[in-house]
């Protein structure tokens, strides 16, 4: 007995389980909901679509059993880890993943087909595999990440790696539909822009927390307008512009919008200065107008957005079909498996599994279902922001906020695009859209958020007196006057613990 304990990886330490009652109860609700969904789907399929052709496994209750089993296992691992972590994030994201699995089981399995060794895998099989990997990753990160030093100290390295990934994609990537978004390494292909979302947040959190006092207190006066202290904002804006530029060159407008929104939100969260947001939004609008004038892709997207119905069989086809799907759903929906009428064997929305899952869910679950899904995303976001607000220091706070914002903003952008509230951009609905890169990155985000929520985590390192940039320019030292500026900042921990 005693001999077994030392053989455990030292990173886990001695096992002291801590019950997670709230998570257990919430997961029970998730399991029941998904099971009811599965039964409803089986009944509907028996009526509408008796058999799947093409040698693919039809909607399979076993898939859902495997998924729920895995979530239960993740729950068990979190209990065994003994950490005091958030108990709502896992049930909320597990629910979204379960909805995703139900949808992918319900869609024609031929939407995606891959041959892996002797097995021919369809849409539902592959999505299940990615969901398993995603939640395993989340659990592994939640249990093992006990220090944020590896993120905090190497922000420029992370930034360089991110830009490197994008450049590599641009030069070595595969063209799909005129967009060059995915990079293949042997048999594995992925979309680096997905990972870049996390990298950008890490960099922004590191940079903003380091220079926060300067950004809050100093201004460059241009006439009556007070602007941010330009020298300190410059490298960050440059990093952001490079990322944005590459994204725009790659025609990935959704990612560009996401990066920009997250950047502005974090800037505001760090500084509390509305002026930054106003300047940012003005810059964004001006930039959008220039893009509209110069980039034909943008112009097409905007024109489709303004009036899709005149080109409902051409350019506007997908969005019009999406709106038709929402409209068919009405208040209560058609029921799982009873929507998406096929004409001549074709789905009305070809990219339903990647870009329009919300339209399919809106049809089959109705407005009520859409509200519930939006509510789940809001829960994830608000839990993330709660973790951020009670974090031990500014870096962790901004990191958690940024990660939550990546999920929330992404959901907002694609949902608004599906509903014709903003021009449509190709971006995934977190946890629900089909796609490995997206699901893995979502898993990383949940894992990091869970780890950050642990109040017993290692205390943050003492603040470094100056940043690298400060060391390069002598002027900074004078402006910063470190002891005076740092001294009044209270340690937020006691306050956070009181909440």
């Amino acid at each position: 007995m005693t001999a077994a304990a030392p053989s455990l990886p030292s990173i886990l330490g001695p096992i002291r389980p801590r019950p997670r009652g709230r998570e257990t109860r919430l997961l029970a609700i998730v399991a029941v909901t998904i099971l009811v969904g599965s039964v409803s789907l089986q009944l509907a399929r028996r009526v509408t679509d008796p058999g799947e052709a093409h040698g693919l496994s039809p909607a399979n209750p076993l898939h859902l059993a495997i998924y729920l089993g895995l979530i239960g296992l993740a729950h068990l691992v979190l209990i065994l880890s003994g950490r005091r972590m958030d108990q709502v994030l896992l049930p909320a994201t597990a629910m979204l993943g379960g909805i995703s699995l139900l949808l992918m089981e319900r869609l024609p399995q031929t939407q995606v087909v891959q041959q892996v060794g002797p097995w021919k895998l369809g849409l539902g099989d592959i999505q299940l595999a990615w969901l398993i990997l995603s939640f395993s990753l989340a659990t592994a990160l939640a249990v093992t990440v006990r220090s944020d030093r590896w993120l905090r100290l190497y922000k420029y390295t992370w930034a360089a790696a991110g830009v490197g990934l994008l450049v590599a994609t641009y030069f070595l990537g595969d063209d799909i539909n005129g967009q060059r978004l995915s990079l293949s390494l042997g048999p594995i292909s992925g979309q680096p822009a997905e990972l870049l979302k996390v990298i950008l947040v890490v960099f922004l959190a590191g940079y903003l927390s380091e220079y926060r006092p300067l950004l809050v207190e100093e201004s460059t006066k241009v006439g009556p307008i007070s602007l941010p202290p330009l020298p300190f904002l410059a490298p960050m804006v440059a990093m952001w512009a490079i990322a944005l530029g590459l994204v725009v060159v790659q025609r990935d407008l959704g990612a560009a919008l996401l990066f920009f929104t997250v950047f502005l939100c974090l800037l505001y969260a760090a500084t509390g200065r509305v002026g930054y947001v106003v300047v940012g939004v003005v810059l964004f609008l001006a930039g959008s107008y220039v893009m509209y004038r110069l980039v034909p892709t943008v112009q097409t997207r905007v024109d489709i957005w303004l009036d899709p119905f005149t080109t409902s069989s051409g350019d506007g086809y997908q969005i019009v079909q999406s709106l038709y799907a929402f409209a068919r759903g009405g208040l209560l929906g058609t029921g799982l498996g009873a929507g998406l009428p096929t004409v001549g064997g074709h789905l009305p929305i070809p990219a339903v599994h990647t870009d329009f899952p919300l339209a399919a869910l809106g049809e089959e679950l109705g407005l009520v279902g859409v509200m519930a899904i939006l509510g789940l995303f809001l829960v994830v976001v608000e839990r993330g922001l709660r973790i951020a607000a009670s974090a031990a220091d500014e870096f962790r706070s901004l990191l958690a906020a940024g990660l939550a914002l990546v999920i929330g903003t992404q959901a907002l952008i694609i949902a608004a695009g599906n509903l014709k509230l903003i021009p449509l951009t190709g971006i995934t609905l977190p946890f629900i859209s089909y796609g490995g890169s997206s699901l893995l990155v979502n898993g990383i985000i949940v894992g990091l958020l869970l780890a950050l929520s642990d109040r017993g985590v290692e205390p943050p390192p003492p603040p470094r007196p100056r940043g690298r940039l400060a060391r390069l320019t002598g002027r900074v030292t004078r402006l910063e006057s470190p002891p005076a500026a740092r001294a009044p900042v209270p340690d937020p921990r006691p306050k956070a613990a009181g909440r």
Binding site: R212, P213, V216, E217, C265, Y268, A269, A270, T271, G272, S312, S313, Q321, L323, Y324, F326, A327, R328, G329, G330, L331, L332, G335, P341, T342, V343, P348, G362, G366, L367, V370, M371, L374, F377, L378, V381, E382, L385, A388, A389, S390, A391, E394, S397, L398, A401, L405, G408, T409, L412, A415, A416, L419, K420, L421, A485, P488, V489, P492, K495
Partner: protein
């Protein structure tokens, strides 16, 4: 508050700003929910019925469509099942209705009323939001609606038969409700052959390949014709409606011009032969169909008034109707003179229905209906009731607009009655008079330039004292108005009173 926050300066906890960000995201999610509500609840009824909605298309292939019957319950569209595939297909017993009902074919989609009312006929929607919510719990989610048309088979058949081998159109409607009683266009085609899967390919190829007769174009609603003298009624409406002329207006230069023509901007407006050189008022000018008097009336009314009053009756835009309609025009609108006319010459010529004036038969029927209904135009409609499992609903009459007042309408009615009933008027409208029933109307002879016979037009209504039916007839290349259109209109009006009584 703000003062203390400012004083705190850099020591603001991030919790506060992060709270703001959370609030902003909550608001944004709320916005998305509102957007979803807009499309899923507010816009749901009309989007669900859109003809290109896959649910409508898919249902059309599987569902036994609702029947279509005429106002007396006579079946105009029913269903059979294919002995090969077991899928249902449409049967149309009467080709006189081909241009109204159109077809529903598995291979060639839908046309006509089958297209416009596809969602109701297939039963994917019954325009009842509460019923729609509950419907999903029923075993059969479709509730195909039976449509009842205002059209009378008797009148429709007689109109098609009356047009015979000629191309043309007849529109009859109840001016007090806007119910269409007959909407005939020739040539007709065999919609049953297009709907039958065995013959559909050849039948459709034959019909769409007929570039000469073009039966797929519904002439009554889509055909654009030079109106000739029937347009004088529009000029009278604009003149009296704007107050620029009255029923007793005379023009001092008119009697002399009857002989030599009227010089307008270098162009001479000519009279047709036989019109005496007397001073006319509205009634006499209508009776004699004087081009000169109406040219002068149009000039006095002004191009802006003419265009505006025409627009009140639907000119300038597609009509609100269940079938596709072409917009009628007073002028092609490119000119700089008021109302879009090029100059006074164009206005003078337009005032008696030549120049750039182009109209659909349905539009001219609405002009007649406006006068018949005392100056108030009712919205034309074909379907008067839709009924399904969950009850039926009738389509109530709807006002399209008040064009002129009852006094002005009465003055024009009197003029139109003289045009049909007086000895002079009957020279132009022979045969339009319904025996025993006071009848009002106006014939038209649309000169097309070149050789060939003119289009023969007639618009009118009866009885004069309480009109129950308004009519527009055009026979392409039918000669003078009195040669073909007026006698056909007279026969059809007489048939109406024979069928439905006085």
């Amino acid at each position: 508050m703000t003062g203390s926050a400012r004083a705190a300066g850099g020591s603001k906890p991030l919790g506060r700003t992060i709270g703001h960000v959370g609030l902003a995201l909550t608001v944004a999610f709320g916005g998305i929910a509102l957007g979803a509500g807009y499309w899923q609840v507010l816009r749901s009824p009309d989007l669900t019925r859109a003809p290109d909605n896959p649910a409508v298309i898919a249902a059309a292939r599987n569902v036994v469509r609702g029947m279509i019957v005429d106002r007396d319950g006579k079946v105009l569209a029913s269903n059979k099942r294919s002995s090969v595939t077991g899928e249902p297909y449409r049967v149309y017993p009467d080709r006189a209705f081909s241009t109204v009902i159109g077809y529903a074919s598995t291979d060639f989609g839908t046309a006509g009323l089958e297209h416009a009312w596809n969602a109701e006929l297939t039963g994917v929607s019954n325009r009842d939001p509460i019923g729609d919510v509950l419907r999903k719990f029923q075993s059969d989610p479709y509730d195909p609606q039976k449509l009842t048309l205002g059209i009378s088979s008797v009148l429709q058949r007689a109109a098609v038969a009356g047009l015979g081998d000629d191309r043309g159109a007849v529109v009859m409607l109840d001016p007090t409700t806007g119910e269409i009683l007959a909407l005939a266009s020739t040539p007709t085609y065999d919609t049953g052959a297009i709907a039958n899967p065995k013959t559909s390919r050849d039948a459709f190829a034959a019909v769409s390949g007929d570039t000469n007769g073009r039966p797929l174009v519904t002439r009554a609603t889509q055909g654009l014709y030079v109106p000739g003298s029937v347009f004088k009624i529009v000029t009278a409406i604009a003149g009296l409606g704007s107050g620029r002329i009255s029923a007793s207006t005379t023009f001092p230069e008119q009697p002399k011009a009857e002989r030599d023509g009227l010089l307008v901007g270098g162009f001479r407006v000519h009279e047709h032969p036989g019109v005496p050189s007397q001073s006319f008022n509205l009634a006499a000018a209508t009776e004699w169909s004087s081009n000169i008097w109406f040219a002068l009336a149009g000039l006095q009314t002004g191009g802006d008034n003419l265009a505006a009053f025409a627009a009140r009756m639907g000119f300038g835009a597609p009509l609100p109707f269940e079938l596709p309609t072409s917009p009628s025009q007073v002028t092609n609108g490119g000119g700089s003179a008021p109302g879009g006319f090029t100059d006074e010459t164009e206005l003078a010529n337009a005032s008696y229905g030549q120049a750039e004036t182009l109209v659909t038969p349905l539009q001219m029927a609405l002009v007649a209906a406006t006068i018949a209904n005392g100056g108030t135009l009712m919205k034309p409609h074909l379907v008067i009731a839709a009924s399904g499992r969950n009850g039926s609903r009738t389509i109530a009459p709807e006002q399209m607009g008040v064009v002129i007042g009852p006094d002005e309408a009465a003055a024009i009615t009197a003029a139109m009655q003289r045009a049909v009933e007086s000895a002079i008027g009957q020279q132009f409208t022979s045969g339009a008079k319904v025996p025993g029933i006071p009848t009002a109307g106006k014939s038209g002879t649309a000169e097309l330039g070149g050789t060939g016979a003119p289009h023969s037009w007639f618009i009118g209504f009866a009885p004069v004292d309480h009109p129950r039916v308004a009519i527009a007839v055009i026979v392409e290349r039918g000669g003078r108005g009195g040669a073909r259109a007026a006698p056909l209109a007279g026969d059809l009006l007489a048939l109406y009173f024979k069928t439905f009584g006085r």
